[in-house]
Symmetry: C2
Subunit: 142 residues, 2 copies
Protein backbone atom coordinates (compact mmCIF):
# COMPACT_ATOMS: atom_id res chain seq x y z
CA UNK A 1 0.00 0.00 0.00
CA UNK A 2 1.39 3.37 -0.94
CA UNK A 3 1.48 6.20 1.50
CA UNK A 4 -2.05 7.49 1.60
CA UNK A 5 -1.31 10.82 3.17
CA UNK A 6 -0.15 12.74 0.09
CA UNK A 7 -3.30 11.57 -1.67
CA UNK A 8 -5.61 12.74 1.08
CA UNK A 9 -3.71 15.99 1.33
CA UNK A 10 -4.00 16.64 -2.40
CA UNK A 11 -7.69 15.80 -2.48
CA UNK A 12 -8.37 18.10 0.45
CA UNK A 13 -6.40 20.87 -1.24
CA UNK A 14 -8.52 20.48 -4.36
CA UNK A 15 -11.75 20.27 -2.41
CA UNK A 16 -12.32 16.70 -3.59
CA UNK A 17 -13.53 13.67 -1.70
CA UNK A 18 -11.46 10.71 -0.73
CA UNK A 19 -12.75 7.54 -2.39
CA UNK A 20 -11.72 3.92 -2.76
CA UNK A 21 -11.36 4.39 -6.51
CA UNK A 22 -8.99 7.31 -6.19
CA UNK A 23 -6.96 5.43 -3.62
CA UNK A 24 -6.70 2.42 -5.91
CA UNK A 25 -5.42 4.48 -8.83
CA UNK A 26 -2.78 6.10 -6.65
CA UNK A 27 -1.79 2.76 -5.13
CA UNK A 28 -1.49 1.17 -8.52
CA UNK A 29 0.67 3.99 -9.83
CA UNK A 30 2.96 3.67 -6.81
CA UNK A 31 3.13 -0.11 -7.07
CA UNK A 32 5.91 -0.02 -9.66
CA UNK A 33 8.50 2.39 -11.01
CA UNK A 34 7.40 1.59 -14.54
CA UNK A 35 6.04 3.94 -17.16
CA UNK A 36 2.60 2.56 -17.82
CA UNK A 37 -0.33 3.90 -19.80
CA UNK A 38 -3.85 4.48 -18.51
CA UNK A 39 -5.14 1.21 -19.88
CA UNK A 40 -2.46 -0.75 -18.02
CA UNK A 41 -3.33 1.01 -14.77
CA UNK A 42 -6.99 0.35 -15.42
CA UNK A 43 -6.46 -3.35 -16.12
CA UNK A 44 -4.17 -3.78 -13.13
CA UNK A 45 -6.84 -2.42 -10.79
CA UNK A 46 -9.48 -4.57 -12.45
CA UNK A 47 -7.33 -7.62 -11.62
CA UNK A 48 -8.10 -6.95 -8.01
CA UNK A 49 -11.63 -7.24 -6.74
CA UNK A 50 -12.20 -3.48 -6.96
CA UNK A 51 -14.27 -2.09 -9.78
CA UNK A 52 -13.05 1.09 -11.44
CA UNK A 53 -13.99 2.61 -14.76
CA UNK A 54 -11.65 3.97 -17.36
CA UNK A 55 -13.16 7.41 -16.88
CA UNK A 56 -12.30 7.38 -13.21
CA UNK A 57 -8.75 6.28 -13.94
CA UNK A 58 -8.26 9.20 -16.31
CA UNK A 59 -9.96 11.65 -13.97
CA UNK A 60 -7.89 10.56 -11.00
CA UNK A 61 -4.63 10.65 -12.93
CA UNK A 62 -5.45 14.23 -13.93
CA UNK A 63 -5.73 15.22 -10.29
CA UNK A 64 -2.46 13.49 -9.47
CA UNK A 65 -0.63 15.12 -12.36
CA UNK A 66 -2.00 18.51 -11.43
CA UNK A 67 -0.67 18.02 -7.92
CA UNK A 68 2.74 16.89 -9.17
CA UNK A 69 2.39 13.45 -7.61
CA UNK A 70 2.53 11.82 -11.02
CA UNK A 71 4.36 12.78 -14.19
CA UNK A 72 2.79 12.38 -17.58
CA UNK A 73 5.14 11.26 -20.35
CA UNK A 74 4.52 11.70 -24.04
CA UNK A 75 6.69 9.26 -25.94
CA UNK A 76 5.25 10.28 -29.26
CA UNK A 77 3.35 7.09 -29.91
CA UNK A 78 -0.10 8.41 -29.17
CA UNK A 79 -0.67 7.23 -25.63
CA UNK A 80 0.54 8.88 -22.47
CA UNK A 81 2.59 7.04 -19.87
CA UNK A 82 2.63 7.85 -16.19
CA UNK A 83 5.22 7.58 -13.45
CA UNK A 84 4.73 8.38 -9.78
CA UNK A 85 7.05 10.97 -8.27
CA UNK A 86 7.41 9.53 -4.76
CA UNK A 87 11.03 9.97 -3.64
CA UNK A 88 11.98 10.72 -7.25
CA UNK A 89 14.36 13.42 -8.36
CA UNK A 90 14.12 15.14 -11.72
CA UNK A 91 15.28 13.08 -14.67
CA UNK A 92 14.69 12.69 -18.38
CA UNK A 93 14.40 9.57 -20.49
CA UNK A 94 16.20 7.33 -22.95
CA UNK A 95 13.75 5.26 -24.96
CA UNK A 96 14.66 2.24 -27.06
CA UNK A 97 12.87 2.54 -30.40
CA UNK A 98 12.99 -1.24 -30.84
CA UNK A 99 11.76 -2.70 -27.58
CA UNK A 100 10.34 0.36 -25.85
CA UNK A 101 12.56 0.02 -22.80
CA UNK A 102 12.85 3.27 -20.86
CA UNK A 103 15.87 4.38 -18.82
CA UNK A 104 16.42 7.58 -16.92
CA UNK A 105 19.22 10.12 -17.07
CA UNK A 106 20.15 13.37 -15.34
CA UNK A 107 22.68 15.88 -16.56
CA UNK A 108 23.39 19.06 -14.70
CA UNK A 109 25.22 20.62 -17.62
CA UNK A 110 22.18 20.23 -19.86
CA UNK A 111 19.88 21.51 -17.14
CA UNK A 112 21.86 24.72 -16.72
CA UNK A 113 22.30 25.22 -20.47
CA UNK A 114 18.53 25.08 -20.80
CA UNK A 115 18.12 27.83 -18.26
CA UNK A 116 20.77 29.83 -20.07
CA UNK A 117 19.06 29.50 -23.45
CA UNK A 118 15.70 30.52 -22.11
CA UNK A 119 17.23 33.44 -20.23
CA UNK A 120 18.94 34.69 -23.39
CA UNK A 121 15.58 34.75 -25.13
CA UNK A 122 14.20 36.69 -22.18
CA UNK A 123 11.59 34.04 -21.50
CA UNK A 124 10.50 32.05 -18.49
CA UNK A 125 11.06 28.27 -18.51
CA UNK A 126 8.00 26.37 -17.34
CA UNK A 127 8.94 22.78 -18.11
CA UNK A 128 10.86 20.77 -20.65
CA UNK A 129 10.82 17.51 -22.52
CA UNK A 130 14.12 15.86 -23.33
CA UNK A 131 14.00 12.37 -24.76
CA UNK A 132 16.84 10.42 -26.31
CA UNK A 133 15.58 7.74 -28.68
CA UNK A 134 18.15 4.98 -28.83
CA UNK A 135 18.74 1.36 -29.71
CA UNK A 136 19.63 -0.53 -26.57
CA UNK A 137 22.15 -3.30 -26.01
CA UNK A 138 19.77 -6.19 -26.48
CA UNK A 139 18.29 -4.71 -29.63
CA UNK A 140 21.63 -4.09 -31.33
CA UNK A 141 22.08 -6.82 -33.92
CA UNK A 142 25.67 -8.09 -33.77
Amino acid sequence: MASTDPLKRALKKEGLRYTQQRQSVWDELCATDDHRDAEEIYLAIRQSELHVSRATVYRTIDVLVKNKMVRKLDLGDGRARYEHKMNATHHDHLICIQCGKIEEFVDEVIESRQDEIVKNFGYKLVRHIHQLFIICDECKTP
Copy 2:
Protein backbone atom coordinates in the same frame (compact mmCIF):
# COMPACT_ATOMS: atom_id res chain seq x y z
CA MET B 1 7.40 26.79 -56.44
CA ALA B 2 9.74 24.66 -54.37
CA SER B 3 12.55 22.73 -55.92
CA THR B 4 10.91 19.71 -57.43
CA ASP B 5 14.05 17.61 -57.77
CA PRO B 6 14.36 16.34 -54.19
CA LEU B 7 10.74 15.24 -54.41
CA LYS B 8 11.19 13.33 -57.62
CA ARG B 9 14.39 11.82 -56.31
CA ALA B 10 12.71 10.64 -53.11
CA LEU B 11 9.75 9.20 -54.98
CA LYS B 12 11.99 7.34 -57.37
CA LYS B 13 14.01 5.99 -54.47
CA GLU B 14 10.83 4.70 -52.84
CA GLY B 15 9.51 3.30 -56.10
CA LEU B 16 6.58 5.69 -56.02
CA ARG B 17 4.99 7.69 -58.80
CA TYR B 18 5.22 11.42 -59.22
CA THR B 19 1.80 13.05 -58.99
CA GLN B 20 0.32 16.53 -58.89
CA GLN B 21 -1.00 15.87 -55.41
CA ARG B 22 2.36 14.90 -54.02
CA GLN B 23 3.95 17.91 -55.62
CA SER B 24 1.35 20.21 -54.12
CA VAL B 25 1.89 18.88 -50.60
CA TRP B 26 5.64 19.33 -50.90
CA ASP B 27 5.22 22.82 -52.38
CA GLU B 28 2.86 23.84 -49.63
CA LEU B 29 5.22 22.57 -46.93
CA CYS B 30 8.07 24.53 -48.49
CA ALA B 31 5.97 27.66 -48.88
CA THR B 32 6.61 28.80 -45.31
CA ASP B 33 9.01 28.14 -42.44
CA ASP B 34 6.08 27.68 -40.08
CA HIS B 35 5.18 24.65 -38.03
CA ARG B 36 1.78 23.75 -39.39
CA ASP B 37 -0.45 20.75 -38.86
CA ALA B 38 -1.86 18.47 -41.54
CA GLU B 39 -5.21 20.25 -41.61
CA GLU B 40 -3.54 23.59 -42.29
CA ILE B 41 -1.55 22.10 -45.15
CA TYR B 42 -4.70 20.48 -46.49
CA LEU B 43 -6.72 23.70 -46.35
CA ALA B 44 -3.91 25.75 -47.90
CA ILE B 45 -3.81 23.45 -50.91
CA ARG B 46 -7.59 23.49 -51.18
CA GLN B 47 -7.40 27.28 -51.44
CA SER B 48 -5.76 26.78 -54.80
CA GLU B 49 -7.67 25.18 -57.63
CA LEU B 50 -6.10 21.77 -56.99
CA HIS B 51 -8.13 19.12 -55.29
CA VAL B 52 -6.39 16.99 -52.66
CA SER B 53 -7.83 14.79 -49.97
CA ARG B 54 -6.80 14.66 -46.34
CA ALA B 55 -5.72 11.05 -46.81
CA THR B 56 -3.33 12.05 -49.57
CA VAL B 57 -1.89 14.87 -47.46
CA TYR B 58 -1.17 12.46 -44.63
CA ARG B 59 0.20 9.81 -46.98
CA THR B 60 2.49 12.24 -48.74
CA ILE B 61 3.77 13.75 -45.51
CA ASP B 62 4.68 10.25 -44.36
CA VAL B 63 6.85 9.76 -47.43
CA LEU B 64 8.52 13.13 -46.92
CA VAL B 65 9.19 12.46 -43.25
CA LYS B 66 10.61 9.04 -44.07
CA ASN B 67 12.98 10.68 -46.55
CA LYS B 68 14.02 13.36 -44.07
CA MET B 69 12.66 16.16 -46.22
CA VAL B 70 10.17 17.11 -43.54
CA ARG B 71 10.38 16.93 -39.77
CA LYS B 72 7.40 15.88 -37.69
CA LEU B 73 7.00 17.72 -34.39
CA ASP B 74 5.01 16.46 -31.46
CA LEU B 75 4.18 19.39 -29.21
CA GLY B 76 2.09 17.27 -26.90
CA ASP B 77 -1.26 18.76 -27.84
CA GLY B 78 -2.53 15.88 -29.90
CA ARG B 79 -1.78 17.02 -33.43
CA ALA B 80 1.51 16.80 -35.25
CA ARG B 81 3.20 19.82 -36.81
CA TYR B 82 5.50 19.69 -39.79
CA GLU B 83 8.46 21.75 -40.96
CA HIS B 84 10.37 21.32 -44.19
CA LYS B 85 14.11 20.73 -43.92
CA MET B 86 15.27 22.58 -47.02
CA ASN B 87 18.49 24.43 -46.16
CA ALA B 88 17.74 23.89 -42.49
CA THR B 89 20.29 22.95 -39.88
CA HIS B 90 19.46 20.91 -36.83
CA HIS B 91 17.63 22.76 -34.10
CA ASP B 92 15.23 22.18 -31.25
CA HIS B 93 12.26 24.23 -30.11
CA LEU B 94 11.03 26.66 -27.50
CA ILE B 95 7.24 26.64 -27.29
CA CYS B 96 5.13 29.27 -25.55
CA ILE B 97 2.48 27.48 -23.51
CA GLN B 98 0.24 30.55 -23.69
CA CYS B 99 0.19 31.60 -27.34
CA GLY B 100 1.77 28.57 -29.01
CA LYS B 101 4.58 30.59 -30.60
CA ILE B 102 7.53 28.42 -31.59
CA GLU B 103 11.16 29.51 -31.68
CA GLU B 104 14.24 27.53 -32.53
CA PHE B 105 17.46 27.03 -30.62
CA VAL B 106 20.73 25.21 -31.11
CA ASP B 107 23.24 24.41 -28.42
CA GLU B 108 26.43 22.53 -29.16
CA VAL B 109 27.08 21.85 -25.50
CA ILE B 110 23.77 20.07 -25.12
CA GLU B 111 24.25 18.17 -28.35
CA SER B 112 27.59 16.77 -27.23
CA ARG B 113 26.36 16.00 -23.71
CA GLN B 114 23.59 13.93 -25.28
CA ASP B 115 26.09 11.88 -27.22
CA GLU B 116 28.12 11.46 -24.06
CA ILE B 117 25.16 10.22 -22.04
CA VAL B 118 24.13 7.70 -24.65
CA LYS B 119 27.72 6.51 -25.06
CA ASN B 120 28.02 5.94 -21.33
CA PHE B 121 24.96 3.71 -21.45
CA GLY B 122 26.56 1.87 -24.36
CA TYR B 123 23.63 2.64 -26.63
CA LYS B 124 23.24 4.16 -30.06
CA LEU B 125 21.49 7.53 -30.38
CA VAL B 126 18.93 7.55 -33.18
CA ARG B 127 17.17 10.86 -32.63
CA HIS B 128 16.09 13.12 -29.84
CA ILE B 129 13.33 15.45 -28.78
CA HIS B 130 14.22 18.51 -26.76
CA GLN B 131 11.49 21.03 -26.17
CA LEU B 132 11.53 23.97 -23.78
CA PHE B 133 8.04 25.05 -22.80
CA ILE B 134 8.14 28.70 -21.88
CA ILE B 135 6.09 31.83 -21.44
CA CYS B 136 7.17 34.37 -24.01
CA ASP B 137 7.59 38.14 -23.74
CA GLU B 138 4.15 39.07 -24.97
CA CYS B 139 2.45 36.54 -22.74
CA LYS B 140 4.19 37.63 -19.55
CA THR B 141 1.70 39.68 -17.57
CA PRO B 142 3.44 42.78 -16.20
